[in-house]
């Protein structure tokens, strides 16, 4: 198989070299990374078939883009004037694309009914200058996953996970005291603290938990009491060796799958990850090894979390936005396809509450916890085209606080840096 693949590649080598220039003027191009994953392929192929049957004569072309390159690719192709009609993004990147005028307003392309089926917080997050420029394809609220076995061992009740941040901290500290397992020490929680915007993004729910936010009126404002509290909360846990230091998403996930961390914050993909990475040893069920709960509540009792949804947009340069939107309509609202998507990937397949609340998704307890979280999930916690830069600076600040610096000093500096970079 391996050899055959190489041979066939050699035969088409010359074609590969000149592959880029092909332009299909009348067709609909969809770029994204879903197609890359085996688990979402069946649904994507089904959608393609259905779409082409519905719109006879239209050729749907799937353009694979690496996740890490998706924003860059979309940006460059938009500047160069030949973007795909439909572009898959994550919510945080939407402002960057919207700012260069790359996205088409969707308000008039979808029916009012369709739009209303999307939760309002999601719509708000994806609205840029009053216009809806993206729709969530796979909503991704970040919830608290916890290891029931470790809780039991630490003398905690696995059926009543921590509901407030102080409770969570206590649980973390308790689990942290457990003896070594699988060749390494057991951590209370696997927090992301690597030097990556992603680490800062994942700490935003902790800021919410301390009653604040990192922006005011869509302007980033990290220098405040709650951010400072959140960073100190993280630093205290890390410095008591109850969370690893410097880990990114891959390392934290490994840790959790090895039953060496009591808690982890993950989206609806958490179930699949835990199962895969533990080679099926761990079950994700209400009474199984791992289960999920809503984020702990802030002091005022509110529960808020961030989302990291995969969204779909239509390029402002698309020659045929109606046809493009019809593809979105197919993948988002066709029950057969969303069911297939849900079965094969476990991800929330649509942003429509109608779909999420009924059928296969409606019957799934794990999925329903995420659906429940949608109304208080904030998909773009910072609405800025320099989303990554802001979070990147915050991540470095977080590392500084962990290494012992005064959080207020650090945040003053981070705030200045963000402001000066926003001016560029």
């Amino acid at each position: 198989m391996f050899i055959k693949n190489i041979v066939s590649k050699v035969l088409v080598g010359s074609v590969l070299l000149g592959q880029a220039g092909i332009v299909y003027a009348d067709n609909i191009k969809v770029s994204g990374w879903h197609q890359l994953f085996d688990f979402s392929k069946p649904a994507i192929l089904m959608a393609e078939k259905k779409y082409e049957a519905k719109n006879a004569g239209t050729d749907l072309i799937m353009v694979d883009t690496a996740f890490g390159q998706a924003l860059q690719q979309a940006t460059v192709s938009t500047i160069a004037g030949n973007p795909s009609d439909v572009i898959q993004l994550v919510a945080g990147w939407v402002p960057a694309m919207a700012e260069i005028g790359g996205l088409r307003a969707l308000d008039n392309l979808f029916t009012q009914e369709e739009i209303n089926s999307i939760p309002k917080t999601s719509r708000d997050a994806l609205t840029w200058e009053g216009e809806l420029v993206a729709v969530p394809w796979n909503p991704g609220p970040i919830l608290m996953h916890y290891n029931r076995n470790l809780m039991k061992e630490a003398g905690l009740d696995p059926d009543s996970p921590p509901a407030t941040w102080p409770e969570l901290k206590e649980a973390i500290m308790a689990i942290c005291k457990l003896p070594e397992r699988n060749g390494g020490s057991v951590y209370g929680i696997a927090l992301r603290t690597s030097q990556n915007p992603n680490s800062a993004q994942w700490s935003i729910p902790i800021v919410y938990g301390h009653g604040g936010d990192i922006q005011v009126d869509n302007v980033p404002a990290v220098n405040n009491e709650s951010v400072s509290d959140a960073l100190n909360w993280i630093a205290e846990i890390v410095n008591s060796n109850c969370s690893p230091v410097g880990f990114g998403f891959a390392e934290t996930r490994t840790l959790f799958a090895q039953e060496r961390a009591g808690f982890i914050f993950e989206g609806p993909w958490g179930r699949g990850l835990v199962k895969n990475m533990s080679d099926g040893k761990l079950t994700v069920e209400p009474k199984g090894d791992v289960w999920v709960a809503q984020m702990p509540a802030a002091p005022d009792g509110t529960v808020k979390t961030i989302g990291n949804p995969i969204v779909a947009t239509v390029s402002s340069k698309s020659k045929n936005p109606e046809l493009a939107v019809d593809f979105l309509r197919t993948v988002l609202f066709d029950k057969e396809i969303t069911d297939e998507f849900f079965t094969s990937s476990g991800l929330l397949p649509s942003s429509s509450m109608d779909i999420l609340g009924s059928g296969l998704v409606g019957a799934d307890a794990y999925a329903q916890l995420f659906v429940d979280a949608l109304p208080f999930t904030y998909d773009t916690p910072i609405k800025s085209s320099k989303f990554n830069m802001i979070l990147g600076e915050l991540a470095i600040g977080m590392q500084e606080v962990i290494s012992g610096a005064n959080s207020n000093d650090v945040l003053t500096k981070v705030d200045e840096k963000i402001k000066s970079k926003l001016k560029r």
């Binding site: 080598g13 590969l16 880029a20 890359l36 694979d64 060749g183 996930r253």
Partner: protein, 283 residues
């Protein structure tokens, strides 16, 4: 027989001491690679054993079978294609230029050579930005050609430098003899000079190949289609992005992508070093 301390030192202690230190330092220097191979042959369960286990209790090729999929075949194929073409193009063009610099009366020759030498140290990101804009305008972004161009550009200076120093050492009389015998200039260059420069050509081609095989950032910025990824790009963009830190799989992949140049070097190491040393020691 009289016992002599100095004889003991000279006859046994020094030779065995040298042998032992040579063996020890070699062992230490290649230990990371041994560890890589060792990990790749372990069973998943043994990977996390402490203290570290150097020789797996049971050799297992599972991880190799697990990662040998079309994705790996694809990145290997792309890398081989790009590295091979870059090596050929850079070496041939470099050799042609080197020949001209070595044999023709070109004004400012030493300045040109100094420029080539210093361009090895040029800030690559600075080069990449304008190249990016150029390639975008030429419509070459997201083609293997863009990477081939990039890799040729950053290695051309060294091929010129290596080849020029080597060609300088070939006696001109050989070319004159061929010229008197009626060979045309092109024939002299391609049938006399280049065959004689084989060590330098090998060294430059290998240098370009290795550089290209290693190069991540042109691939990262110029390529967006997963089909066109080379080994470093494929690994950093897909493998490291995968959800799992699968160490045996990672190490197997590391072994697999090291093998192609490893094999080339086992066969061509001598020639490579000869050309490299002839070309660089002098300069």
């Amino acid at each position: 027989m009289k016992f002599s301390f100095s004889k003991l030192v000279r006859g046994y202690i020094i030779p065995y001491g040298l042998q032992a230190s040579a063996l020890a330092s070699t062992a230490i220097l290649i230990s990371p690679i041994v560890w890589m191979v060792s990990t790749s042959l372990k069973k998943e369960s043994e990977v996390f054993d402490r203290p570290p286990v150097w020789i797996p209790s049971e050799i297992s090729f599972d991880s190799y079978f697990r990662i040998m999929n079309s994705f790996v075949a694809n990145i290997l194929y792309n890398s081989i294609l790009v590295a091979l073409l870059a090596a050929i193009i850079a070496t041939v063009i470099g050799a042609m230029t080197a020949y001209a610099l070595s044999r023709f009366a070109i004004p400012g020759k030493s300045t040109i050579m100094l420029f080539f030498l210093s361009s090895l140290a040029f800030p690559i990101p600075l080069l990449m930005m304008s190249m990016y804009i150029l390639l975008m305008k030429m419509g070459l972004l997201d083609t293997l050609l863009s990477m081939i161009i990039g890799h040729t550009v950053i290695t051309l200076p060294i091929t010129v430098w290596l080849m020029k120093n080597f060609i300088d050492q070939i006696p001109k009389e050989i070319e004159e003899a061929a010229y008197v015998e009626g060979a045309s200039f092109l024939r002299i260059i391609f049938f006399i000079v280049f065959p004689l420069s084989m060590p330098a050509l090998t060294a430059s081609a290998l240098f370009v190949f290795v550089t290209s095989w290693n190069e991540l950032f042109f691939g990262l910025s110029f390529i967006s289609s997963p089909d066109l990824r080379t080994v470093p790009v494929g690994i950093s963009q897909s493998f490291l992005q995968e959800f799992k830190t699968d160490w045996t799989g990672m190490m197997s992949l590391a072994v697999i992508v090291t093998i192609p140049i490893g094999i080339i070097f086992v066969f061509l190491q001598k020639s490579f070093l000869r050309g490299m040393i002839a070309g660089s020691v002098k300069g």
